[in-house]
Symmetry: C2
Subunit: 610 residues, 2 copies
């Protein structure tokens, strides 16, 4: 455990070394991204490349891009993304920082009028970034035009000192001992800081020399593009994070033995216990499920980009809703799943050397950043309600919401499962998930219609709405897993094994959300019990291949960073070896023993130097 300063310094070394490699070896953009994944330590670099630069590209005019992108590409400047404030997170429209146009000097004056308007959380801000993309309310002639993005220089490019009118500091330690503490999340107060007019990003709207506000005609939703990009990337990251934890837990569960010894035989491998399988295998299945849905989401995003280029905005609402919802459910599953994997490793999972505590500490932030997971579900629910309200006017929903167009059919659906094996049929699963999601969604819409004020209704029913949104998103994941299985998959028996995982993923959800499926009348208690029976038999089927299925993630021991998850299974000698490295083992008598404990043992505690 390094103290914060040393930890931060080491992180600077690693991230800049990576940049040197990227330059020297002339990595492509994709290769550079891969390298940053393998460094596996958050730093200012991530924010610069993943947020600052893409935002300029998305929201800057051609001219602005010409000016700023080369600087950022060469890292002659380093940027951060300064949006959230001490008092304002989810509600971006509530930001308080102001950017007031001064027609006399043709400048914007950035100001933080209150303590709660202090910029708070931006990574890279506290110690490294030279520039910020600061979000502030545009004020012209006392009129508030809402939140816009402004390029503000924070530090001198000569001596790195903060410029006049700018107060910055680090917001302190976060979860874990390493984890996100390599990132210098910062706070920022503007005291009437002036920037030239052309440093407002003006692709969506511009301010003229005369102080006239001119929207460009490009739809505001275009600014969602960056959100869609970031969130689909988070879904991919969720599959990585969860699969790491699952890999560690599965391998250690095969090494660990406990109970069940008969006549001096070895004890039973814990992976052979049904209770272990029932916790581990659904997570293994989820890791694959999230990976496949993220692949689909990425192709959806790439298609979106092409459409946007052709001024086709038709898929933007669905892209926004899908990425929001999938970001929410996959990060929740990954965060909870990592902690479950830690518990599956018993006491040893609590050791830092297991790799799991730090993985959890660094990962859980994903449930909050880039959209709080509950707020995101409400956004999905809002879109679902909108689709339903438009059904009567003949608007046929498409894409992932197409099933809502088959309302009448789904309202009458009853599962025809008779035997446990029937649950293996893809259409049985999809129909059950569709019917459940549709009925929960329509029930919400119906209950909403009873309120005079729809905002009041939405607030009152918000918990039901989030549950409907979850049902909808789980349907997407199940469907995309099944679609994946309809494609060619190379490798003998691979498709078959993935099919088993797909069934586990879906049937585990049926069991977990049995209340939904039963209360909507989609299945009967007997069918629920058959699902459970089938699930148990699937666990036995996946057991012989469980280790191969985590080996297939192809993580090096270095990347896993876990004594328990070692590929060679040589856990105990290495666990023992690793422990000796703790600084507390440098001496037999620990610091403080003579001052504090010895006097106590010698019954002279009044002499202790307390």
């Amino acid at each position: 455990m390094l103290a914060r300063k040393e930890l931060f310094k080491a992180s600077l070394r690693k991230s800049t070394h990576a940049w040197k490699m990227i330059q020297d070896l002339r990595f492509t953009k994709e290769e550079a991204k891969e390298l940053r994944i393998f460094i596996d330590e958050f730093s200012f670099m991530d924010v610069h490349w993943e947020m600052f630069l893409p935002a300029i590209k998305a929201q800057g005019t051609d001219e602005q891009q010409k000016q700023w992108v080369p600087l950022a590409n060469k890292m002659k400047i380093i940027g951060c993304y300064a949006q959230t404030e001490l008092g304002h997170g989810s509600n971006v429209r509530g930001l308080e920082t102001t950017a007031t146009f001064d027609p006399k000097t043709d400048e914007f004056v950035l100001n933080s009028p209150t303590l709660s308007s202090t910029k708070w959380w931006p990574g890279g801000l506290a110690k490294i970034a030279t520039h910020a993309l600061a979000h502030a309310r545009l004020i012209i002639d006392d009129k508030d035009y809402g939140v816009h993005a402004f390029l503000v220089q924070l530090r001198s490019l000569d001596d790195h000192l903060t410029l006049p009118g700018i107060t910055i500091h680090d917001i302190g330690m976060k979860f874990g001992s390493g984890a996100y503490n390599t990132m210098d999340n910062g706070s920022l107060i503007f005291d009437h800081v002036r920037i030239p007019r052309n440093q407002m990003l003006m692709r969506l709207a511009k301010v003229t020399r005369e102080g006239k506000y001119v929207p460009s005609g490009v739809p505001m939703q275009l600014s969602y593009g960056i959100m869609v990009y970031v969130r689909q990337k988070i879904v991919f990251d969720a599959s990585i994070a969860l699969s790491r934890a699952v890999c560690i837990a599965a391998r250690y569960s095969a090494v660990r033995r406990q109970f069940g010894s008969q006549n001096g035989s070895p004890e039973t491998q814990v992976i052979d216990y049904k209770t272990q399988q029932a916790r581990l295998f659904p997570l293994l299945a989820s890791a694959y499920a999230i990976r496949f849905v993220s692949e689909w989401l990425n192709s959806f995003y790439l298609d979106l980009l092409q459409r946007l280029d052709a001024k086709d905005f038709s898929t933007l609402p669905e892209a926004h809703s899908c990425t929001s919802g999938l970001k929410s459910i996959t990060t929740t599953v990954a965060a909870d799943g990592i902690e479950e994997c830690r518990k599956l490793c018993g006491g040893q999972g609590y050791l830092t050397s297991s790799g799991l505590p730090e993985l959890f500490s660094v990962y859980v932030s994903a449930c909050t950043y880039e959209g709080d997971n509950v707020v995101l579900l409400l956004q999905v629910a809002r879109q679902l309600m909108k689709i339903i309200s438009q059904l009567n006017s003949g608007n046929k929903p498409g894409g992932t919401t197409a099933y809502l167009g088959r309302a009448e059919q789904l309202k009458q659906y009853r599962s025809n499962v008779l035997r446990a094996e029937d649950w293996l049929k893809p259409n049985v699963l999809v129909e059950a998930f569709e019917a459940r999601a549709a009925r929960m969604t329509f029930a919400c819409a119906q209950n909403l219609s009873k309120f005079n004020n729809s905002d009041d209704g939405f607030q009152e029913l918000s918990v039901d709405l989030t549950e409907a949104a979850i049902a909808h998103c789980q349907l997407i994941v199940v469907s995309k897993f099944i679609e994946k299985l309809q494609q060619d998959i190379p490798g003998k028996g691979v498709k078959e094994q993935l099919g088993v995982l797909c069934s586990i993923y879906a049937l585990f959800l049926v069991h977990k959300h049995l209340g939904d499926f039963l209360s909507t009348g989609v299945i009967t208690p007997e069918q629920g019990s058959l699902a459970n029976e089938q699930l148990r038999s699937l666990y036995s089927q996946v057991r012989p291949n469980a280790i191969a299925l985590v080996d297939a993630f192809d993580y090096t021991d270095y990347f896993l960073g876990s004594v328990l998850g070692r590929y060679d299974g040589n856990v105990y000698p290495k666990l023992y070896e690793e422990a000796w490295k703790d600084p507390l083992n440098d001496t037999v008598i620990p610091d403080g023993f003579h001052q504090y404990v010895e006097p106590l043992l010698k019954q002279q505690y009044h002499n202790a130097r307390l």
Copy 2:
């Protein structure tokens, strides 16, 4: 964030200072315990007082107690409890360390024959303990008599150096940056270490000078006594841990505002959102529920002690089962609840200054130590199956399992709820929980009977069995909450508010486990939906008193250790102030900037000192 050595040293200072206070101020045993709770930092002291000493009292003969208890009471020796081994946790019977009787010298020879027999995890062992209560297989004349407890001196009382034949070290960093890292959990290898024969604790069985093994006639179960004590204490600790987190999240939810501003009015307090209430209030209710069940469990334990003194062992199995089951479900709820509270605080919950990350890191170990939570549920299930198998032979179950004696009635039970308010009736709740638990339990028993080999059946059905055990334990908590409300409760309106919390606790479980209640036919989907409706209305009722209900825990700001949970609600200025204390803010230019980042900015990264 202190580096490990400094953290440990600081902890030694605090715990020994507390001991000095306890002596100087002549604290009673109870007061001393309270003080250790408020120090709120695990150290060797806890193990010495809560495990080492009670174990000697429980398992030592009168003579042994006379010899060792005064030494331990005065802390002339400091003890640890060395049970688990690198390869052996839950399965105590599988321990490998041996204690072989040598009739020539009248000694036991302690030995660690394999790497996996290394003692692993005992707190206080690594750096401080002078003695260990080591659990080892007793071997006499090559015959293995199973695991017994032995008092072994580890270190010289003169210079604190480890004695010959003993190898000890610290097992390294654990979850979090502070958390349990103040504890020196250690590993221990014995290389033929000799101790006098009278250092085996001999209350349950003795070894004579001639090497004869003589059971004392005191039932082996008596050794459960210490487990019962420790686990009932863990249930109490769960209520403390969860209520701390709930207090922080509730107070901050009243301070935090987001969205919902109309015409420039302040935004809505997040505690007013139904989605927030539906996550926070069930946890508030759970904190109270766990507190009350822990009070009941403590009185049960005290009654058990009296009975044991009178050689009445009749309530021991139930005490063992109740403490196991309640330890399992309450620590799971508390651990998950703390993390949920952290998420309820949004981004700020991720800051160490919120107090929540470290509370979680230190707390989650409770799900694993003193019995893995899943293994414990299986023990409860085993007892439930035993009770059912004895029903036919006319054995009437008592105490918390008495309801299983009303099998026929419960198998036919159908809830008579017609309106949402019906769910407020205590008997409606208790009956529904009884019927659900009974039916799940009987279903398991019936399915088990289909197996030829009951061990195979138990393993195959173990997941269903754990679910039945959870249903049984939740019934206990609900019943004890309701019993509490039947007593006098001082304070105007207090009983009424607690009644609201009790209903929330129970109905939240109905909603969460709706699948159980529906599939067992205890309630209908309509009744489930009425429960949900009632729950929503209860949230509105508890809202005005939510802050008073967490203030009632009466925690000082010092004990809460959270900027977000401050009693005065002055969160933002203090959050800002607290952040400045991070060492990273000591200088404007961070260590490493000139070596690593500056050359990069100046496009001279080849000069960087990487």
